[in-house]
Symmetry: C2
Subunit: 155 residues, 2 copies
Amino acid sequence: MSESRNRPIGVAFLLAQLGAHAAGRFAARVAELGLSPADVGLLRMIAFQPGRSQQSLAADLGVVPSRVTAMLDPLDRAGLVERRRSAGDRRNHELHLTAEGTRVMEDVKRTAMAHEADLTSCLSPDQRGQLLALLELVADDQGLTPGVHPGYRRS
Amino acid sequence: MSESRNRPIGVAFLLAQLGAHAAGRFAARVAELGLSPADVGLLRMIAFQPGRSQQSLAADLGVVPSRVTAMLDPLDRAGLVERRRSAGDRRNHELHLTAEGTRVMEDVKRTAMAHEADLTSCLSPDQRGQLLALLELVADDQGLTPGVHPGYRRS
DNA sequence: TATTGTTATACTCTATAACTATA
DNA sequence: TATAGTTATAGAGTATAACAATA
């Protein structure tokens, strides 16, 4: 409680704390759509590059291919993604969103906007712009890929 | 890669991304001291309030008492914390840092300062102050307790 | 023989519940 | 009977390795 008097809180700690908070809130919101944050990440990657293979997904996510199989199974069963055998190389699955999957991603987009609005509601438009710029500065300096959430994997 | 062209990146996502990055980097740093971030959190709480019980720790952390036992065991074996039977109520363990534990916490403090410096090295002192102020504004508005990292538990 | 995706297995993390020793 | 801490057990999550189909 009075811990803050003793120890100066730095940018690094605040980022970790607020980041976990933001991620937790987002998880709670998309849970109402029946999705986990990992599900959302997977759906976004498929929406952005339809037809990609599970191997390429595994490589980009930094996880093992068997993990992608396990993550994809429920989304497939729920009718949000479709695995199509590639005509050219029948070992491949070409991944696509279904119509339902596309609709769900619209819900996710609305959810993300509400999340953003809630998190920054205490800031003036000016302050929000400043914060965004400073965060982008640090993210860029730290070599983070835009739009790719690292989870907690390899640094 | 060119994802950023399509989808505007917001404050919420950047916070989650940078927060995970900062947490991961910190984890890598303290791993060199043989500690996990959870270990550090536990040591900090004991350092701040010596003599506290495992129950109070469990309550503050939002975890179950048996979890505290499991987290404490390696720190005890490593000689960083000491469990002293309370004289007043012999069911209790009063938790204290050992001399070695106190020394390790000095290392942790140096590590945290290096971490902070690295993460904000691209900012001018002015920018760093602005970022700190804006993050504190949001953290306060979101009801976050100073100095307490929520992990990914209950929102 | 190499590669895509799947299945089987093992390991880690965490929670629930049963247990002990005190009170 | 209730409480502090421990131990035992079970469930998620994730990685490694063996496997089947295709190239």
